[in-house]
Every structure is written in structure tokens, then in C-alpha cells.
Symmetry: C2
Subunit: 435 residues, 2 copies
């Protein structure tokens, strides 16, 4: 942790102010939080011109500094993109309240009632790269779920982020949520020190490159919601329907190759490989996908030879590694060895084989006869996506608003004491009540 | 992490074997796992004499080495305690299956169905101090929930632990679960290196002193289920019923003072303090509780003066810190500042005040008019307790078998691809189906 500095007194003070505001925010009701988001959206709309102008300033400076075209595109926030982001804030306002959900309701004994109720985490720390729309999205998800947020955006977007944050706070100022619930961190030193705010920050959400996520995971004790690699596999079983397999494999690779849920490795059962590749090679070539295969698949027409590194590489590009396997076990062993536990797919018409795959592969998503690209909070119907987690413990896979809440046990009695139960003068009934 | 050694090749090989066995174990059904536990219990019964003899050896050696009486008592495993532990294994066999629970079931579109299903974590690492019964308990919870386990017991109990583990593995050998699913680590080097087995161990469960837990939390990147401190508070509001308050406060402190859910600090509303203390002081004195108070409470008869350290101390003993507060806000501020987010209690007949306390205090358990000692997995009706967590993220508070499972998303389609939805030729229906 040598490269992570101690938090400055000023950062501690700012984080403390967010935490304090979050205590009140956590006690607001659904209506108050939904209203606060509408108010944030209103303020963004009122300041749209200034925000777009601030963004132009960022774009000009970044162009002069030679920012890569892909990053320039992400940085750009024109009137249309801003209107879309404002619409997104209003959509988050309309999501069902994630707080106050009763998950357990049990009478422990006469007059002694236990509830488990969803509550906010407290304060989330968000570190995102170039995209300024992420600021609006995450800030609205945080407020909707009753959490304060410390947000650190990319240096390239600093004028835009300041203009956006100004609007968000102005919106909160005319709501029942304190503007102190949100704070923008601006220096790199602050974003590093954020990683050390154990006790003041409950969850860190990184939005950016694999390198950023890995650095954060390796340099903080605060839980991190996200994933570094997305090395997803698609296995074409010997009982696969060829046309279906080609179609799903193509979509899984090409529908958006830079996404974490695009496949990076294709595993093919040896007995179907010649037929599958005969059908698939022209289709992949037509889509501009470069294939790298093991020796056996090169013998069947794959143009480039893959090496060990290919099995571990998330290309995020129109490149796909290919390997032939003898059976389902070799496929699942390969996935266990090289996968990142994100999403894996089997293509087969044999449902027993599909069930074995779905039981044996321990990734957050295990799919049968459909594209890996469905691994997404919106496609799952969550209404929002806070991140996709490849950790073992929940929350796992695409995470909606539930990733920003935890729970608390409430127990209400009338003078009940434990000694009565250990003495046997009273007994627990443990009767579940309606939720 | 300087003091934590790299895992040896032998440890990596052993952990790899547990992981491999856990893959198969994760695919067993409820009946197979319940049977495996019965078989473990049978084998423990058959080898009872040898286990008790091994324990006598540990006791004699430890007595010669001058082990403290309290630890000697924990180490002791006589025929009666062993029978109780075996009964415990059978009880875990009878718990409802935590695996295969469908938590979400949704049609994303015609023929495209999403499920979220509970699955095992994989491998848990358990580090426990003197008590050999913890080995039987945790091993049975792990197998019941489909997890492999690497277990490291205390040096004092090494003969007992080896005899117990021999029996557990013999039991598994005559079941459909591989004995490789359990492994006993015996050296201190191994238990330290366990903390570095990221990727092979999914969760670490420490069972022992606060110091042990804190050391583990500070020296591993693997998630840890447990808690270091349990600094629980009880607040006597001005609207408290005095008799009820005295009774609940006494139980919360004395029913088992060494437990993490015993209270360490009593906060009293200034306006009721004289009356409350007049009633409580003789009762606490009668129970042998030493009180240490702030200046205002000393003026009302508390014998010792507390200092700043007292608010941060988990006595785990018949000592209680006392502080007078002006109002609910001062009480909740004190709890926020000094508490460990375990369990806090308010005593009041004013339900609005109680509701404010339950909303404002963000501890795993917030109680009204009942003893803090109810914070326990068995008392909550979970049938088992894996640990009590004071972290913010779930699982939180007393954790039953659900702490040993995670979930996986399964998506089944018939050639569905994402491009159809982004092109608008198909639309998501997101219709929830019966669980």
C-alpha cells in the first residue's frame, strides 16, 4: 500500500460531512428521495447550457493534450447526451424504493418480534474515468438508495464534473436531502486517499479500466463492487444445433466487443469442430473477427496459432481464442482454470448436458443456448446497474440497487430477557409472520 | 503482510485437493449431504473412546505446560461433551437445505428464462482456538452447505483435532462426499499461509479472541465472516419503565458477560438518571457488576470514574461503563462514535422515540425493550450460527447457513441473441414467474 497516501485533514473533514448527511438521508422516506432526484434532474436541465459549455472546455483542452479518440468520445457530453442522462436520473427516481423492505418477520416469542429490514449502506465511494454521465447516474442511484457518495471523476472531465456536481447539489438544496450528501473529489491524491477511508466509506465502486479496478482491489480494505477481468467462455457441445451455435457465438463476440460480457474464448467439442468451424469461419471473417486457435483448431482452418497467454486474455476487441476439447469435463476444467467467473455459455440441444454444465461451472452467470451479452442489470430487469461483480460472495453478477443496501435486524419486546429462556421458564416459538 | 508467509507447495496441493472435492460436493443433492453428516456422526460415535483418550493426552500436556484454567475448560472434551457435539452434527443434518433455493425467477422474453439459485461458496477456511467441538460444528455446517473446508485448530488441541478429523473423514468415506472435502491444518505456518490462499479459499471464519479476528482481518484479502469487538450499548430513555429497564440492563450485562452481545456501556437520560440509578445500583452490586461512570453519574453514586478509554473497551467481564446524556441525539452520537455496530438497545415506553432510535442507529441489531443477549443465530431461529458479523455489507448480524452460500444466475434460451433486442425486433417482457 506504499503508493496510497494517508487521507488529508481536509478529506477526512469532507468525508465526515458526507457521512453525517448520510445519517439523515438514511431516515428519509421513499417520496422524499424520489423528489430529491426530480429536483436534481430539474437543476441539471436548468444548467444544461453551462454544463455543455464546461464540457466543451474539457474537450478542447483534452484535444490539445492529445487524448485518444475513443476517450474523447466518452468525454463528450453534448445537449442530447445530457438530456439522456437527465432522463436517466428521472428513471432512477421512478424505481421501486430499495429501503424498508422487510426480508424476515418472525415472532421469537409472545410479544418479541424480529424483523430484518433493508437499510442504506451509508457512504459509497465512486471512482470513474472519463465518462461524465457516470457521475449523474451513480449520484442518483446513491441518493435513491439513501446513501451519501464521494465521487472522483477523471481529470479530463474536471470542468464538466464540477458543473454537473454544482447542479446536483443545487437540486438537493431545494429538496429534503442535504447537498452535503454528495461530494466531488478532484485531485488524484484524494482519489488514492479515498481507498483508506475505512469506517467512513462502506463500499467502493470503480467505473473504468481493468487496471483501475485491479489497482483499487489491491489497495483498499473497503469492499469493492466490480470486476477486473471478464474472460467469458462459450462451449459448443457435440449436440449443439450448428446454426444456433454460430448465431449465438457471433452475437456473444461481436454485439459489443468492448464489453466485459463479450466472450473471449470459444471451446468446441472435438467431434463437432469440423462442421461448426466450416459454418462459423466465414461468418466470423465477415464480421471482422480474428481467430486464434490451438493446434487442432488451426488444422481445421483457424488462421492464427494461440499460445497459453491467449486463454488468459480479455481482448475487449474483435479477437477470439478457440480451443477444441474432448468432452464437457475438459471444457469446464478449462473454464475453472482460466475463467474470471463472470458468464459462461453452453450451446447444446441435450438438456442433461446443459444441466451438468450449469451445475458444474461456478460463474456468476451460467447460460444455455443464449448470448453471453444478456449479463446486464437492465436486461435482467433490475432497472439499473450499479456494477457487475465476479466475486464469490453476494452481491454477484449484474447488481442493481440492491448492491447499495444492506439490512438491519430490529427486535421489539416488552422487557424480555435471555435468562428466562436459558432457565426454561419461557420458550422460543419462532413463528414466521407475513412479510 | 510481512508476517504472513507464502503458502508452501504442499499447502497449495492440499488446498487444491479440497477445492476439487468441493466441486463435486457442490453438485450433490440434499439427501446425499444429509446422509454424509449422519455418517460423520456415526463415525464420531464409533471412535468416541479414542477421541476422548486423545483429548486426555492434550489435557495432560497442556496442564504440564500451564495452560490457563479457562482454556483448559474449553479444551476438555469428555464423553458427555462429545455426545452433545455428535448430536449437534445430526441436528445440522436435519436443517433445511440451503442450496438450490430459487431467489428470482423471471421470463426475460418468450423462451428466455432467468433464475437466481443459491449455491455453495466453494471452500471455507476456518481458524479456531482451543475448543475442539468447534471443529465438528463447522465441518458439519460446511458439508451441509456443500462447501469444502480447510480447518486450523489450536496447538493445545492437536491430538483431539486429529482424532476428530480422522473420524469425520472416515464417515465421509462411507458417504457420497469425498473425504478430501475436509482438511486439517496443523502448523502455525499453515494457518498463516491460509490467509494468502485467495482463489482457493472463498471465506475465512475465525473462531477465537478479538485479537485473532483482528489479525486475520488485517492480513488477508479473503472475505472474513466474524467480528472483532462487540461494544454494545443500552440506552435508558427518559420515558423508560424503571423496573423493566433495570431487569433488561442486568440481563444484558450479566446473563453471559464474556459474550460479544453483552452490553459494555449504559447510556442514561439525565432526567431519569437519579431514579434509575437508585433502583439499579443495588441490583448491579448484588450481581457483582462494577460500574465506572462519567462525572455526572459518579455524582449520583457510581463508585468509579470512567475515562475516555472506557467508552472504547469491550470488558467481556462484570464491568459496565455508565454515561448520562441530554437526549436521544447525544445517545445515538455516542453509539456512532464508540460502538462496534453489533447490537444496541433502547428502553422506553415512548414508541415514537423507540422508532427514532431504531432508524438512527446503524448497528446490525437495534432493539427496543429487550435484552442485547438475544443477538444470536439460535435465538433468531436460524438453527445454526456460523458467526456474527459487524460489517456493513450482508451477511450481517448473526449469520446462519446462509452465510456459507452465494448464488448464481442461470439463463436458459433457445438461440436468443442480444442484437435482436438492441435492434428493436424483440422486446424484453421481464415477467416474474412463481419462485
Amino acid at each position: 500500500m506504499t503508493s496510497v497516501p494517508e487521507p488529508s485533514a481536509e478529506l477526512l473533514q469532507r468525508a465526515g460531512a458526507v457521512r453525517l448527511a448520510a445519517v439523515d438521508l438514511g431516515q428519509t422516506d421513499d417520496h422524499q428521495r424520489a423528489q430529491a432526484l426530480q429536483s436534481m434532474a430539474d437543476a441539471l436541465g436548468e444548467r444544461a447550457e453551462a454544463i455543455v459549455a464546461a464540457n466543451r472546455e474539457d474537450l478542447e483542452r483534452s484535444a490539445a493534450e492529445g487524448l485518444a479518440p475513443a476517450l474523447m468520445a466518452r468525454l463528450k457530453l453534448d445537449a442530447q447526451k445530457l438530456a439522456g442522462a437527465i432522463d436517466g436520473v428521472r428513471k432512477v427516481a421512478g424505481l421501486p424504493d430499495p429501503l424498508g423492505q422487510r426480508q424476515l418477520h418472525r415472532e421469537l416469542d409472545d410479544g418479541l418480534r424480529l424483523e430484518r429490514v433493508s437499510v442504506p449502506l451509508g457512504v459509497v465511494g465512486v471512482i470513474f474515468e472519463a465518462r461524465p454521465d457516470a457521475l449523474m447516474q451513480i449520484a442518483s442511484l446513491a441518493i435513491r438508495s439513501g446513501n451519501g457518495a464521494l465521487l472522483k471523476g477523471g481529470r479530463e472531465a474536471r470542468c464538466t464534473n464540477e458543473a454537473v456536481m454544482g447542479a446536483l447539489k443545487a437540486g438537493l438544496a431545494s429538496s429534503s436531502v442535504s447537498p452535503d450528501a454528495l461530494a466531488l473529489l478532484t485531485t488524484r491524491q484524494e482519489s488514492l486517499a479515498l481507498l483508506r477511508l475505512d469506517g467512513l466509506v462502506d463500499l467502493i465502486i470503480p467505473r473504468g479500466s481493468n487496471e483501475l479496478v485491479r489497482f483499487i482491489q489491491d489497495n483498499t480494505r473497503i469492499p469493492v463492487l466490480g470486476h477486473a477481468d471478464g474472460i467469458c467462455h462459450l462451449y459448443v457441445d457435440q449436440q449443439a444445433d450448428l446454426a444456433k451455435a454460430v448465431r449465438v457465438a457471433l452475437d456473444s463476440k461481436t454485439q459489443y466487443p468492448a464489453a466485459c460480457n463479450a466472450i473471449e474464448t470459444l471451446l468446441i467439442h472435438r467431434s463437432i469442430a469440423a462442421d461448426f468451424l466450416a459454418a462459423a469461419l466465414p461468418v466470423f471473417a465477415g464480421a471482422g473477427v480474428r481467430l486464434r486457435g490451438d493446434a487442432a483448431s488451426v488444422a481445421l482452418g483457424i488462421p492464427e496459432l494461440a499460445d497459453e497467454d491467449d486463454w488468459r486474455t480479455e481482448y475487449l476487441d474483435l479477437i477470439l481464442a478457440v480451443k477444441l476439447v474432448d468432452d464437457l469435463t475438459e471444457a469446464t476444467d478449462h473454464i475453472r482454470r482460466y475463467g474470471s467467473r463472470h458468464t459462461e455459455v453452453i450451446l447444446t440441444e441435450d438438456h442433461a448436458t446443459a444441466d451438468r454444465f450449469l451445475a458444474a461451472v461456478d460463474s456468476a452467470g451460467v447460460y444455455h443456448n443464449c448470448s453471453s451479452r444478456f449479463a446486464d442489470g437492465f436486461r435482467y430487469g433490475f432497472g439499473a446497474e450499479v456494477g457487475i461483480s465476479t466475486q464469490t460472495l453476494p452481491p454477484r453478477g449484474p447488481v442493481g440497487l440492491e448492491g447499495l443496501v444492506t439490512y438491519r435486524y430490529r427486535l421489539r419486546g416488552d422487557g424480555h430477557i435471555a435468562a428466562d429462556y436459558s432457565a426454561g421458564s419461557r420458550r422460543f416459538t419462532h413463528e414466521d409472520l407475513p412479510l
